[in-house]
């Protein structure tokens, strides 16, 4: 979806509160650290307040010849000027050093807290993505999700460290400062608060706009990122069609848009910072002016005015820092909203509250009047009834788009049917836990997904299988020979899309991966479409052994592979057209027999003869 400014609704105050509350929720497990950080920050501020004192002592006592303040009498009572001077110099070093130590600890603790929050949030989001159904993933771009996982989660740290922490310390300072100052001079203390109403006004007026711009800008960045990710992922296609310039032009226009949005955001931010700075400057000037008059009137000591001004700096500092970073804070907030948006999506395939683990099954599969449509609403399956007995091998045959893969996906519960039900050994799939179901159903997908790692790990795919088992699975998939020929054998690292491998080689790796699992129900979606008939023949010989006694569904286009099944099910338009064994279907003289006659030679073994003919 293209982000537009019009489509963006400025969030209500309640939403803001909810967002902050939620962020704080991620802070809760790390409360000790965070509070430690806040405490140390406070200590640092305190030390800042004390820091000018030694200098003042030097000026007043050492140089001015005034008496020592009373609290210092017992310590430095009999010490001479040189001694006091040395003492003052030493305390400056000590104060600065302890201020430094407080900063070390505070900085470290706050960064630590922030990192932990980011870590928690990122893992939570990642885990949630693992739970969301394929229906969700079908609608999403990898790049967009990746941006949320990798970049948007960082916002937790940004929001807390740039926003909440300075604001909180500012609020605490405000209260403390007011209490202390009111003790000296109530009027002056009230003047110091004069800046609050205009600040509030400025923040509420501008921050909404900043937040809106930050959201739009972040969406634009994410969209650009997704675009780049998918283009680079498809670079082969782009190059094959000579579309590099076009792709760059598209990227550039997206990038220009994003740049314009980001500059707009920063302009608004700078204007805002300017307003805040001006308000604060007026506040400072007012305090200096009034304070000076009060000193002239004799109502206030010069030192007390100094304290006022010093506190003012500590108060205004965080406000200033927040106002100068508001764009980042807003952007962090927008990022967090994007993270929470995904976290809020309820997985539509999830364990029912009453779900139990699926007990070990014999593999008795039933589809009962199953209806299914993807999000576009076009029915893919329209009332399929199919029973597969334990140990039976069924071939699904039919034109493309007939619903073969969809039917198989329902058995792995990648989706739930809209009507009807799917059962294994009498258990409705919706009543059992997804994990226990998938442990007993092996699915080899039509598309071969390989990872950027060794062949061995691609086949084992995280399961703790021995090298020997991996090798056996590869042998059965007829992949062993070509793997051995690779430079590093099973340890060869293959590219993300396995592009140095041919289609048939990739397919055999995927098959080996599926064969390594020993589940009672096996679904193979076009397992051998990229193999020549000769290799296919050999693969099937092994696979047949391996599948003996298991329930298997094989999706195929080749009649030669379909023929092997105990039963052939012909799907068309989301319904079962014909079913039966090869011979039964031939005898029925329906669609299947027509297909068989027009494309087969009656034996199903086409290519070896062809090869013999042409190479002879």
């Amino acid at each position: 979806m293209e982000p537009t400014e019009d489509s963006y609704q400025s969030p209500s105050r309640a939403e803001t509160r909810r967002l902050v509350g939620r962020t704080v929720g991620y802070l809760r497990p790390h409360r000790p650290r965070f509070l430690g950080g806040v405490g140390l920050t406070g200590l640092g501020i305190l030390l800042d307040v004390v820091k000018p004192i030694p200098l003042a002592i030097v000026l007043d006592v050492v140089l001015g010849g005034a008496n020592l303040p009373r609290w210092l009498q017992p310590v430095l009572g009999g010490v001479g000027r040189d001694g006091i001077l040395a003492f003052a110099a030493l305390s400056i070093v000590l104060l600065t050093a302890s201020r430094g130590a407080a900063t070390v600890a505070a900085t470290y603790l706050t960064i630590d807290t922030g990192q932990r929050m980011v870590n928690d949030l990122r893992t939570a989001l990642y885990g949630h993505l693992q739970k969301l159904s394929l229906r969700f993933h079908n609608q999403q771009q990898t790049g967009d999700l990746l941006y949320r996982v990798m970049s948007d989660t960082y916002s937790a740290q940004g929001l807390v460290m740039n926003g909440l922490l300075p604001l909180a310390s500012s609020a605490v300072m405000l209260a403390g400062m007011f209490a202390v100052m009111a003790g000296y001079d109530v009027e002056l203390a009230l003047v110091a608060l004069v800046v609050c109403p205009p600040l509030y006004f400025a923040i509420t007026r501008i921050s909404g706009r900043i937040h809106q711009q930050a959201s739009v800008s972040r969406e634009a960045e994410s969209a650009l990122y997704a675009r780049a990710e998918s283009t680079i992922g498809a670079v082969k296609l782009v190059q094959a069609y000579g579309r590099e310039d076009g792709a760059v032009a598209e990227f550039r226009s997206g990038s220009d848009r994003s740049l314009a949005l980001s500059l707009k955001l920063y302009s608004t931010q700078t204007v805002f910072a300017f307003v805040v700075d001006s308000v604060l400057a007026v506040g400072t000037a007012a305090l200096v002016w009034l304070g000076a008059r009060h000193v002239l009137d004799g109502r206030l000591g010069i030192g007390e005015l100094t304290i006022f001004l010093s506190y003012l700096k500590d108060l205004y500092g965080p406000i200033q820092s927040v106002s100068h970073n508001l764009a980042e804070i807003s952007s962090s907030r927008a990022g967090l909203e994007r993270v929470f948006k995904v976290l809020d999506i309820e997985p539509d395939v999830k364990d029912a509250p009453h779900a139990r683990p699926l007990p070990p099954v014999t593999g008795h599969v039933r589809f009962e009047n199953v209806h299914f449509a993807y999000d576009d609403g076009q029915p893919v399956l329209a009332g399929v009834d199919l029973e597969i007995r334990p140990g039976e091998h069924v071939a699904l045959l039919g034109p493309t788009g007939a619903g073969k893969s969809t039917l198989a996906s329902l058995l792995g519960r990648f989706y739930d049917p809209q009507a009807g039900r799917v059962t294994i050994d009498g258990h409705d799939l919706r009543d059992v836990t997804v994990l226990s179901l998938r442990q007993q159903v092996t699915v080899m997908l039509q598309e071969q997904i390989l990872f950027h790692t060794t062949i061995r790990e691609n086949i084992a795919f995280g399961s703790p299988r021995s090298d020997e088992e991996v090798r056996r699975a590869a042998e059965r998939a007829e992949a062993d020979t070509f793997i051995e020929r690779l430079p590093d054998g099973y340890d060869t690292v293959i590219g993300e899309d396995g592009s140095t491998l041919s289609g048939g080689q990739r397919q055999r790796l995927a098959l080996a991966r599926a064969l390594l699992r020993s589940a009672p129900i096996v679904i193979l979606d076009e397992p051998t479409s990229a193999l020549d008939l000769d290799t296919e023949e050999r693969v099937w010989a092994h696979v047949g052994d391996l599948l003996a006694g298991k329930t298997a569904i094989v999706i195929a286009h080749r009649l030669s592979s379909a023929r092997r099944a105990d039963r052939i099910v012909l799907l068309d338009g989301g319904r079962i057209l014909e079913q039966g064994s090869h011979d039964e279907l031939l005898a029925r003289r329906g669609t299947y027999s027509r297909l068989w006659e027009s494309f087969g030679d009656g034996k199903g073994n086409l290519e070896p003869e062809l090869l013999a003919a042409v190479s002879g």
Binding site: P54, V58, L59, D60, G64, L85, T96, R99, G100, T103, T107, V118, N119, T123, Q130, N138, L145, L146, V149, N162, T231, I232, A234, V235, K236, Q239, A240, G246, A247, F251, L259, S262, L263, Y266, F274, S278, A281, V288, R293, V295, G298, L300, I302, T306, S310, E328, D376, Q378, T400, V443, I449, G495, E496, S499, S502, G503, R513, D532, F599, V614
Partner: protein, 657 residues
């Protein structure tokens, strides 16, 4: 100027008045406003320029990546590349935006303040600057460690991002094998490690900055000690001392900012080196797209080829294909069919002199022309998340909807289009997931058919299409092709039957060729050669191994001058801004330095004018009054002491955090 201010102060204190206080307040206001305005422009100009540069670099990088040869892309991971293009780039931007701004600010303020200090008291200046060597050493060490650790952190981030990318795009497989929990655990473990590394760097910074502050504290103490003794000895007047102290405080910020700049710079250069690894890869040459499309016969002569250092995939292939022929390539999986097609398409570079198209060596044929002439439907179909129509029109951006539709119909998508809610305007998922395998393949086919290229390569393009549909499509393709030369790779007899010529590949060699229908004896469009009799050439010398990319050498190289030049060249369009920014920076620094003086003046006035303060006045010293007020108040207001510097630093840092 400081002298001027001092003179004013000295004259003012003789005749203080509330009016002057008001003037001082107005001056504070004016200075603050001036500072804000200047800050506004500095920020607008420099941050804006650094954003511009960032976006421009990103666009350049993207264009560069798209032009890198498939060989390069085969070795890289999308997540890693993306992480460099986004994450590292932003560290580089921090280096050129806030980094440069801060460095300039530090230098300007530092120079002015040191000059003023030296004018006020050369001895004290030397004392204050005695900490400099320590600062330099600490900064040097910190810089080195930061560089090293940050490189490691960015690498780890890339790793996390790449594995997350693979997980998300392979989500179906993860589901099918019920590996969600494992994947989540692994991801969490990686993140913990990432956090650990990050904290390592944070610890370093957390140590460095306070250490810097402590050093500055030592400097202050030294000045206080020496200065105090000098005053006692009558060698220095208090106002001079106070004035000096004010300047010294102005130096605190630049000293700390310096560490910050070094930090930014080291992070930026670490990231820059990682990006440089991308830049160092040699892109495909940009060639002219002008000129006639290649046509005529395709000749392959004695072609031997291997991927990288692997064993040869093709050996001594020779064949000739006349225009208008449909050639079927058959053979076992792994026999080299797809490799041969990749070489024809120059997705891999064939050795010179092995493939000629229309009499011209393929390597001499400009790529843009070749790509327009030779269009392929690959085994795996990639669909962008866009409308079906736009996905088809990729090869011919200007195509009319009618043309797109005709291509879709020819590719056999007609019945499917009818069931899609918006026909060609239907959005297909990122990998066309809601399309069935066969529908995806036919979309890819329509894409190719739309181009009208004289050579069409169908690499097992019908494996997920049922035989009947395939039959219809091939009939349509042939009927319209005319003189189009078609290469087919397939395992199906039904496909191969459509070929005029069949070439059988076996273990990288032409094992045989012939006419699939055994007919048309008068026509021999294909002449096979190099059969079993061809000599075996296993030696590496005969194998085409493309030149090694310099990416390995680029790793671990220090800061590259050429790259620095490139960086600077990006900034050239903004040099006007940069000059302006420097002027603004200078003015801002002056405002910054004048602020405390005027504040001090105001307090001095108050102090010296009142005769009966409530609490009893500190005695005044010598001719001038009141150091105490100004030296205490000044840091309170606008001089950066550590707390306010931290707020300043975050304010300057812009979007760094």
């Amino acid at each position: 100027m400081p002298r001027l201010v001092r003179h004013i102060l000295e004259s003012l204190e003789k005749e203080p008045s509330p009016r002057l206080i008001a003037i001082s307040c107005a001056a504070i206001l004016g200075l603050a406003a001036g500072d804000s305005i200047l800050f506004f422009f500095t920020r607008r100009i420099l941050i804006g320029a650094s954003r511009d540069v960032e976006f421009e670099m990103r666009e350049d990088l993207f264009a560069h990546l798209l032009r890198l040869p498939p060989r390069w892309h085969r070795k890289s991971r999308v997540g890693d590349v993306m992480s460099r293009a986004v994450n590292d780039l932003s560290a580089v931007r921090m280096m050129i935006g806030p980094g440069i701004m801060q460095a300039a600010n530090t230098i300007v303020v530092g120079t002015i303040a040191v000059t003023l200090m030296a004018l006020a008291s050369p001895t004290l200046t030397l004392v204050a600057l005695a900490i400099l060597p320590f600062v330099a050493v600490a900064t040097q060490v910190m810089g080195k460690v930061t560089h090293r650790r940050f490189t490691a952190i960015q690498e780890f981030f890339s790793e996390i991002s790449a594995s997350a990318q693979e997980n998300i795009s392979g989500v179906r497989l993860v589901r099918a094998f019920a590996r969600e929990a494992t994947e989540e655990r692994r991801f969490d473990a990686k993140n913990r490690e990432f956090r650990r590394r990050n904290l390592g760097l944070a610890r370093l910074n957390a140590l460095y900055f306070p250490m810097l502050q402590a050093l500055v504290g030592v400097g202050f103490a030294g000045v206080l000690w020496v200065g105090g003794r000098k005053i006692l000895a009558g060698e220095l007047t208090v106002p001079r001392y106070v004035e000096f102290n004010l300047y010294l405080m102005e130096l605190v910020w630049p000293a700390i900012a310096l560490g910050w700049v070094v930090n930014l710079w080291q992070r930026g250069s670490a990231s820059w080196n990682r990006m440089a690894e991308l830049w160092a890869a040699e892109p495909l040459a940009v060639e002219s797209a002008e000129g006639p499309l290649p046509g005529g016969p395709l000749e392959v002569k004695d072609l031997t080829f291997a991927y990288d250092s692997g064993p040869p995939v093709l050996r001594n292939i020779s064949l000739t294909v006349e225009p208008g022929t449909t050639v079927a390539l058959v053979g076992r999986t792994g026999s080299g069919k797809s490799t041969l097609l990749n070489l024809l398409l120059r997705l891999e570079e064939p050795p010179f002199g092995t493939i000629r198209l229309g009499g011209r060596d393929l390597r001499d044929t400009p790529l843009p022309l070749l790509r327009r002439a030779l269009v392929a439907v690959p085994q795996e179909t990639f669909l962008f998340s866009d409308t079906l129509g736009n996905n088809i029109a990729i090869g011919r951006p200007g195509a009319t909807p009618a043309q797109v539709e005709r291509a879709a119909l020819e590719a056999g998508l007609g019945p499917d289009l009818a069931t899609f809610p918006k026909g060609l305007e239907t959005i297909v998922g990122e990998r066309g997931i809601t399309l069935s395998g066969g529908q995806k393949q036919r979309t890819a086919l329509a894409r190719a058919l739309l181009t009208d290229a004289p050579y069409l390569v169908l690499d097992d393009a019908f494996s997920s299409v049922d035989t009947e549909t395939e039959e219809r499509i091939l009939e349509a393709v042939k009927a319209r092709s005319g003189t189009r030369t078609v290469f087919l790779v397939s395992h199906r007899l039904s496909t191969i039957q459509h070929a005029d010529v069949v070439v059988v590949l076996e273990k990288g060699r032409v094992a045989g060729d012939g006419n699939a229908r055994g007919a048309s004896p008068g026509r021999r469009p294909l002449r096979g050669a190099g059969r079993a009799t061809a000599p075996l050439r296993r030696s590496r010398g005969g194998v085409a191994v493309a030149d090694h990319l310099p990416e390995d050498e680029a790793q671990g190289r220090g800061f590259d001058r050429g790259i620095l030049r490139r960086l600077l060249s990006l900034a050239v369009p903004y040099r006007g801004y940069a000059g302006g920014a420097l002027v603004v920076l200078f003015l801002e620094s002056v405002a910054q330095l004048a602020g405390p003086l005027l504040t001090g003046a105001a307090i001095d006035l108050v102090f010296s004018s009142k005769e009966s303060p409530r609490k009893g006045a500190p005695p005044s010293w010598g001719g001038s009054s009141s150091g105490s007020g100004s030296s205490l108040a000044a840091p309170a207001l606008s001089t950066p002491s550590p707390a306010s510097t931290s707020s300043r630093s975050s304010r300057r840092s812009g979007s760094c955090s």
